[in-house]
C-alpha cells in the first residue's frame, strides 16, 4: 500500500481553488450525503446557491464573506479509480502566503488554478515560484471559470500561451493545461461536451499521472541525530534516516566533530533483527567505540560525507516583515541541526508577485533573494539539488520564521562583496624570501600534562636559533589578555580556541611560524582552527596516556579535578577527542623531550622550507645566539 499522492492546490485569491476541491470531491464520489447535506444547509442559510468551497472552508471566518475566503491550509483525502490522493488546499490571499508554504512544502505535485477571465495575477506568480523553489515540479494548470467565457476556445489558446511563457521565465513547465469550470463540473472527471475543441485529458486523469516523490534510498546516507537516550546503560542516538541506507557494522563519520565510529547496533522497539535501516525510517543507533554524540550531529559514510562549511550562499524565500540586511543575525535550522548565522550580503532580490528584479537595498516581502550567511561554526551541508535534508533550512528570528532557504554554494573562496579584504601589494613569496621560510601554524593538541607547553617552548628556542621568525602562543598566557573575558564553559572554551586560531592564522600569513599549544579537546574546534589557517595548518597530536599525564601533573590540576575542585576537566570529567588525521603524532610517554623536539624541528623544516643554516642578511630577529 503506497501513501497517497499529495497535491497542493494553489493560485490567486478568488480564482476558485476551494470551489474546485469541493466539486472534485463531489464528482469523484468522495463526498458523503451527510457532508453534502451540511454544505447545502450552510449555503441556504447564507441565501446562496450550493457553495462547494464550504467543504474545505470550514471556519466561520472563511464562510462569512460574500465569496468564501480560505484562511488556512487544509487537507482532505480523495480516492479515484483505486488511487489515493491527499488534497492540500492552500490559501490564495497575500496575507496567508506562509500558510500556502506550509501546505505546499510536502506536496508531490501541484494544481495551479487560474481564473480565465482575470488571467495570471500576483499570487499566481508567487505560488508558482514558491512551488518551483520547494521542488514541487509536477505542475498542472487548471484554467477555470470558462462558463463565464462561453467556453471560448480562442481565450483558452491565448491564456494557455501566456501562462506557458510566464512559467518558462521561471524555468517551469506544466504537465498539462486544462480548461475547466469548477462550478459547473466541466472537464473535471470526464472530458466536457461543452468544450469539444479540447481534446486533452480531463483534470483527474492528469492528477492521476502525478508521481509520489521518490524516497532517497539510493542517495548517500544522512542521519541527523534528534536526541540521545540512555537505555540500560547504552547510549542510543535517535533520528530519522533522511537518505541512503545504514547497515550494522558500517564505518561512519560523525559531523561536524569528525569522529569515526562503527555502527554497533540499530535499535527499534519491539526489537528486530533487521540489520539495515533505509531512508525514511526513524531508528536508534549505538556507536563504537563510545564517543560523544549529540543532537545536531550528522551521521554519514566518510566516502560521501556532507561538506563542512562555515560560509555559504543560499537562495531564500523571504517571509519576514523586516527585509534581510548585512549584519543581521538569525538562527538557521536544518531540522535538528541548528547554528547561529550572520548575514554577510544580500543580493539579486526578485519580487515573485511581479517577477521583477528589485534593488539590493529593498527586499520586499515574499521575494526570492540570494542571502550570504556566515555560521559561528562549521556546518555539515549539501547543496540544493544534491540532498534535501542537509541543504534546506529555515531562518528564525527568535520565535519568528523569517525565511526558508536552500544552500546554493560555499563561499569560502569567494567572500561577499562588502567583506572583500583589500589586496596586499606583496605576496606570500615576498614574505618567504625575507623570512627564509613560509608561515605555519604548528597546532599542538593533547591531554593536560602530555607535554605540549614543554615541547612548544623547546621548539620555539630551536627554531629561533635556526633563524626562524617564530612565536609560541601559550594557552594560559592568552587567557590573561586576548581571551580575558572568557570562562570555562563549553562555549567559551570553543571561543578560546577560535580566537587563538584566528590570531595564529594572521601571524602565519605574515610569514611567522606560530606554535600554539592548546588542549583543544574537540575535533570540531580543531576543524575551525584548521580552516582559519588553511594549508598553513599542521596538527600535531601529543599522544600520551592518561595515567602518565596524571602522574606528571605539572600544575597539580589532575589532583584538583579528582577532588572535584575543577569541573569538566579534560581527561577526568570531560572527553578528549583524539585527532582524526593529524599531520604528526608524538608519543611523549615513550620518548624523551630531546627526541620529540628533534622530530618536530625536522618536520617544521620540511614543511616551511627553513634551511639548516640561514643567510645572516635575511635574519630579522636580531643577534644569533649560536
Amino acid at each position: 500500500m503506497e501513501r497517497p499522492v499529495r497535491i497542493a492546490v494553489a493560485g490567486h485569491i478568488d480564482h476558485g481553488k476551494s470551489t474546485l476541491i469541493g466539486r472534485l470531491l463531489h464528482e469523484t464520489g468522495n463526498l458523503s450525503k451527510e457532508r453534502f447535506a451540511e454544505i447545502e444547509l450552510a449555503s441556504r442559510k447564507r441565501n446562496g446557491p450550493i457553495e462547494w468551497a464550504y467543504v474545505t472552508d470550514a471556519l466561520q471566518a472563511e464562510r462569512d464573506r460574500v465569496t468564501p475566503m480560505t484562511i488556512d491550509t487544509s487537507r482532505i483525502w480523495l480516492t479515484w479509480r483505486g488511487k489515493k490522493f491527499q488534497i492540500i488546499d492552500a490559501p490564495g490571499h497575500r496575507e496567508f502566503v506562509q500558510n500556502m508554504v506550509t501546505g505546499a512544502s510536502e506536496a508531490d505535485g501541484a494544481l495551479l488554478v487560474v481564473d480565465a477571465v482575470e488571467g495570471a495575477r500576483e499570487q499566481t506568480r508567487c505560488h508558482a515560484y514558491v512551488l518551483r523553489l520547494l521542488g514541487v515540479n509536477q505542475l498542472v494548470l487548471a484554467l477555470n471559470k470558462f462558463d463565464a467565457l462561453g467556453y471560448d476556445r480562442d481565450r483558452f489558446e491565448s491564456l494557455a500561451a501566456s501562462c506557458k511563457s510566464e512559467l518558462a521565465a521561471m524555468g517551469f513547465a506544466a504537465l498539462a493545461t486544462v480548461p475547466i469550470s469548477a462550478r459547473e463540473g466541466e472537464n473535471l472527471v470526464e472530458r466536457s461536451a461543452v468544450m469539444p475543441w479540447y481534446t486533452g485529458p480531463a483534470l483527474m486523469e492528469v492528477l492521476a499521472a502525478i508521481q509520489p516523490r521518490a524516497k532517497e534510498v539510493n542517495d548517500p546516507l544522512r542521519l541527523r541525530v534528534q536526541d540521545v537516550y540512555e537505555v540500560d546503560g547504552r547510549v542510543i542516538a535517535v533520528g530519522r534516516v533522511d537518505s541512503g541506507v545504514l547497515a550494522l557494522g558500517d564505518q561512519v563519520v560523525l559531523l561536524p566533530r569528525g569522529t569515526n565510529a562503527v555502527v554497533d547496533s540499530i535499535d527499534r522497539w519491539p526489537s528486530s533483527a533487521e540489520a539495515i535501516a533505509r531512508a525514511g525510517e526513524s531508528i536508534g543507533v549505538t556507536l563504537g567505540p563510545p564517543t560523544t554524540v549529540e543532537r545536531g550531529d550528522v551521521i554519514a559514510h566518510s566516502e560521501d560525507a556532507p561538506k563542512l562549511e562555515q560560509q555559504f550562499r543560499s537562495i531564500c524565500f523571504w517571509i519576514g516583515e523586516t527585509p534581510p540586511s548585512a549584519g543581521a543575525r538569525f538562527n538557521a535550522q536544518f531540522g535538528p541541526v541548528t547554528t547561529a548565522v550572520t548575514v554577510t550580503s544580500v543580493r539579486n532580490p526578485l519580487d515573485t508577485e511581479s517577477l521583477a528584479a528589485v534593488g539590493d537595498g529593498a527586499v520586499p516581502r515574499y521575494a526570492i533573494v540570494e542571502v550570504y550567511l556566515c555560521a559561528t561554526e562549521l556546518v555539515p551541508l549539501d547543496f540544493h539539488g544534491e540532498l534535501s535534508a542537509t541543504s534546506r533550512f529555515v531562518l528564525m528570528n527568535g520565535g519568528e520564521l523569517v525565511a526558508c532557504g536552500f544552500v546554493d554554494a560555499a563561499v569560502s573562496a569567494e567572500p561577499p562583496e562588502n567583506l572583500t579584504p583589500k589586496a596586499h601589494l606583496l605576496s606570500g613569496g615576498d614574505r618567504q624570501r625575507r623570512n627564509g621560510h613560509t608561515g605555519a601554524v604548528i597546532w599542538m593538541t593533547g591531554l593536560p600534562g602530555a607535554g605540549k607547553s614543554t615541547l612548544a617552548m623547546a621548539l620555539e628556542r630551536k627554531l629561533f636559533d635556526a633563524g626562524a621568525n617564530v612565536f609560541a602562543i601559550d594557552g594560559d598566557r592568552v587567557r590573561q589578555g586576548l581571551n580575558g573575558d572568557l570562562g570555562f564553559s563549553a562555549k567559551d572554551r570553543s571561543e578560546n580556541v577560535r580566537r587563538v586560531a584566528e590570531a595564529a592564522a594572521l601571524f602565519a600569513e605574515m610569514g611567522a611560524i606560530v606554535i600554539a599549544a592548546l588542549i583543544s579537546p574537540q575535533e570540531r574546534d580543531r576543524a575551525v582552527a584548521r580552516r582559519a589557517a588553511g594549508r598553513r595548518f599542521h596538527e600535531i597530536f601529543i599522544d600520551c596516556d592518561l595515567e602518565t599525564c596524571e602522574r606528571r601533573d605539572p600544575k597539580g590540576l589532575y589532583k584538583r579535578a579528582r577532588a572535584a575542585e575543577i569541573a569538566d576537566f579534560t581527561g577526568v570529567s570531560a572527553a578528549y577527542e583524539r585527532p582524526f588525521a593529524p599531520e604528526l603524532v608524538l608519543d611523549t610517554a615513550h620518548s624523551g623531550v630531546e627526541q620529540s623536539v628533534a622530530r618536530l624541528v625536522e618536520y617544521v623544516r620540511r614543511v616551511t622550507g627553513l634551511e639548516e643554516e640561514k643567510p645572516l642578511e635575511l635574519s630579522l630577529s636580531g643577534q644569533r645566539t649560536s
Binding site: 503506497e2 482532505i76 512544502s105 539510493n218 534528534q226 530519522r240 527499534r268 526513524s282 535550522q333 531540522g335
Partner: protein, 267 residues
C-alpha cells in the same frame, strides 16, 4: 526503488514528531482516551522511546465512559506499565447550563484540561487527533501553540515546513502536539491490525451495532454495523463516506459547534 509501505512512512513520521516533542517541550504529558487513536499513539510512543514512555499518561475522566472502556484502561495501564494519572473533570454543574448537552460534556473536558495544565505546569500535551476526522481539525498544525486559556488562534498559525515545527510554547500557554494528524481512520485500523494493538471491544459489532467513535455514554451513539473483525470494519469504512463523528452529539448541535469548541480549547 520504493521502500516501505504507507504505514511505515506514517509510523516513522509520528515517531519523529514524538521525539521532537520530548526533546523540545518539557514538562510533557500524553492524553489517553482509551479510544483507537490515542491507544495507537501510546503504541507509537513506546516505539519512539524504545519501550518506556518518559512522561505521564493522563486520562481526563468525566466518569461517564462506558464500563468496557474503564476495564480496558486498567488492563493496559498495568500491562504496559504506564505512569497513568486519572484527572477528574469538574462536575457538569459547573458548566454553562445554557449549552446543549454535548457541548456541556465537551466544556467539562476543556475545563479539566485547563485545570490539569495549571496544576501540573505542563507546557506540552500530546493528542491523538487526525485531520480527516473533521474539517476544522484538517487545518491543525503538528505543533500548535495555545494561549494561556488554551485558546486556539487559527488566524495566526505558525509555519510548518520540512522538519521545522514551532516547538516553543507561547508565554503563559502551552503547545499541543499532534503526531497522528496525517493518519486516516482506516490507517489507524490497519495499524492496529498489523501491530496487534489491543482495543476496546465496543468497536466491533454486537447485536447489529458497533461504536465507530467512543465518547461519553450519554452523548455517543453506536452505528448499525455487521463488522465483527478489523478487516470487516475497514471494508465497511471504505464502502461508506459517512463521517466518523456522526455519532458524537457535540459536533452537530449547530453549524460551527466544533469550531467553537476548539477555539475555546477543546482537543
Amino acid at each position: 526503488m520504493s521502500s516501505g509501505t504507507e504505514l511505515d512512512a506514517l509510523e516513522a513520521d509520528s515517531v519523529y514528531i514524538l521525539r521532537e516533542a520530548r526533546r523540545c517541550v518539557r514538562p510533557l504529558c500524553l492524553l489517553w482516551s482509551m479510544g483507537k487513536d490515542s491507544t495507537a499513539l501510546l503504541w507509537l510512543a513506546r516505539k519512539a522511546f524504545l519501550g518506556n514512555i518518559p512522561f505521564p499518561i493522563v486520562q481526563l475522566d468525566t466518569e461517564m465512559e462506558l464500563p468496557e472502556v474503564y476495564a480496558f484502561r486498567d488492563r493496559i495501564a498495568a500491562e504496559w506499565q504506564l505512569d497513568l494519572r486519572v484527572e477528574l473533570c469538574p462536575p457538569e454543574s459547573e458548566a454553562d447550563p445554557e449549552l446543549p448537552p454535548g457541548a456541556r460534556a465537551a466544556a467539562r473536558k476543556t475545563a479539566g484540561l485547563r485545570r490539569l495544565l495549571s496544576a501540573n505546569g505542563y507546557r506540552g500535551v500530546i493528542l491523538g487527533i487526525r485531520r480527516d476526522e473533521q474539517a476544522v481539525r484538517a487545518k491543525e498544525r503538528v505543533f500548535s501553540p495555545r494561549g494561556p486559556d488554551g485558546d486556539w488562534d487559527f488566524h495566526n498559525q505558525p509555519i510548518e515546513l520540512w522538519d521545522h515545527y514551532a516547538t516553543d510554547p507561547p508565554a503563559g500557554g502551552h503547545v499541543r502536539i499532534h503526531p497522528l494528524l496525517d493518519w486516516t481512520e482506516v490507517d489507524i485500523w490497519r495499524y492496529h491490525k498489523r501491530e496487534n494493538i489491543p482495543f476496546v471491544p465496543l468497536y466491533l459489532e454486537r447485536d447489529g451495532k458497533r461504536y465507530r467513535s467512543l465518547g461519553e455514554k450519554n452523548i455517543t451513539e453506536p452505528i448499525e454495523s455487521t463488522a465483527s473483525t478489523i478487516d470487516e470494519m475497514i471494508a465497511e469504512l471504505e464502502a461508506s463516506h459517512a463521517p466518523e463523528r456522526a455519532g458524537r452529539t457535540m459536533d452537530h448541535e449547530r453549524e460551527d459547534a466544533f469550531e467553537r469548541l476548539r477555539t475555546a480549547g477543546y482537543m
